[in-house]
């Protein structure tokens, strides 16, 4: 029941934030993570186009989660096109709540920061500190 890592992908598909919170998954070089994030963005876009007749009133979403052996990922799409990808161990409960809290921290620490350029890599120490507190609370 641990969170392995968090990626934040911008509207255009570029990775703006990535951090790992446990040692289970092997560390990847930054370029690999950038490529993986781009692939995930593409898959998400394809799955969004392939959904069957949408329910009126519900926004069309794409890929929501994927699973491998022992770990999985959950994708949360915001109304503005930003994607939060949470890598977690299986089984894990309370993921929706966790994603909402991450989104809350993002909108507080990043969106209200005048020194952050939208769609650019996030380097806000406040964001990282708050995420660290949240993750250590979950991983403990």
């Amino acid at each position: 029941m641990t969170i392995h890592g968090l990626w934040v992908i911008s509207k255009a598909g570029g990775l703006v934030f990535s951090r790992s919170y446990s040692d289970i998954l092997p560390p990847q070089p930054v370029n690999t993570i950038l490529t993986l994030a781009g692939i995930l963005h593409g898959i998400h876009a394809i799955t969004a186009k392939l959904t069957p007749t949408p329910i009126p009133g519900v926004p069309v979403g794409g890929l929501e989660s994927f699973e491998a052996e022992g770990w999985g990922g959950k994708v949360f799409l915001t109304p503005t096109g930003t994607k939060f990808v949470l890598l977690h161990s299986i089984p894990q409960t309370g993921l929706d709540d966790l994603m909402k809290r991450i989104y809350e921290i993002y909108s507080d620490a990043v969106m209200k920061n005048p020194f952050h350029t939208p769609e650019m890599p996030i380097n806000s120490s406040l964001f990282e500190t708050k995420l660290q507190t949240l993750m250590s609370g979950v991983n403990a």
Partner: protein, 262 residues
């Protein structure tokens, strides 16, 4: 299209700064938005000719609108005493103020000076409002204010901070090196709690807005001083956002205190 301050619809796909830029375009005086919404008498000068609906709404009276819509200068001052707006509204507005000032200033010192000037205007208005409300609640005929230095500093420390931030400051200290320096300490400022300064601008403190506010209040109380804000969060790991407002009093204040003192 209603453009009243504090209400604007945000399109879901747009940038999250939309609400703050539309707020800023209707009033040239961003210092009018404190945590408690004060009516700003200077709005008349800042209304532009293209925003005719605003002028009608503020000064046109009640031609086609409901009875209760009094223009802003006739409203009772105590009407907004306990009014609240969302903290996020302030956060976005302040973030836009900072990036607006940043694009027009060349250096960190200039940016701090701009924020300080904005805070100064707010401080002057807050002082008059608080003194008026104190007089009204205690039913005195003449306004009452402190004259001596220490009660004045305590007034700023408790009452002004309580009005602006909702709680008194965390500490008021006198500097041990110089007699005319005092420090107001705030562990976690609600005004700039969402802002994290990048490493290459680590000298900047967005609390210079608060410093300007304190300077405006002190100037109104006849205590001229130079007020600056400094971030000391790295020396106190418990409170990483701790800021110190440094008040350096003018020499004539110290002389006056001496002659009044003993």
């Amino acid at each position: 299209m209603s453009q009243a301050i504090g209400y604007s619809t945000t399109p879901p796909a747009g940038s999250s700064r939309f609400s703050s830029t539309s707020l800023y375009s209707t009033s040239q005086n961003p210092s009018s938005s404190t945590i408690n919404n004060n009516p700003n008498p200077n709005r008349r000068e800042s209304a532009r000719s293209s925003i005719v609906p605003i002028q009608q709404q503020l000064f046109g009276g009640s031609t086609t609108q409901q009875q209760g819509n009094v223009n802003i200068l006739d409203r009772s001052i105590n009407k907004t005493k306990n009014a609240e707006i969302a903290l996020s509204t302030w956060a976005f507005l302040f973030a836009e103020v900072i990036s607006y000032s940043q694009s027009r200033s060349d250096s960190i010192a200039d940016l701090e000076k701009r924020l300080s000037t904005l805070g100064y205007d707010v401080g002057q208005r807050i002082l008059s409002l608080i003194l008026l409300r104190n007089t009204q609640t205690s039913n005195l005929k003449d306004p009452k204010r402190e004259h001596r230095l220490i009660p004045i500093l305590q007034f700023v420390h408790t009452q002004i901070y309580k009005y602006v931030f909702g709680k008194p400051a965390d500490g008021l200290e006198r500097s041990s090196e110089a007699e005319d320096e005092y420090m107001l300490i705030l562990n976690e400022s609600p005004l700039s709690q969402f802002i994290s300064v990048p490493k290459d601008m680590s000298d900047l403190s967005c609390e210079s807005f608060t410093a300007g506010l304190v300077e405006g209040v002190l100037d109104g109380l006849e205590v001229p001083a130079r007020v600056t804000a400094h971030w000391v969060g790295d020396q106190y790991p418990d409170h990483p956002q701790r800021t110190v407002i440094l008040i350096k009093l003018d020499q004539k204040v110290m002389d006056r205190e001496e002659s009044l003192g003993k």
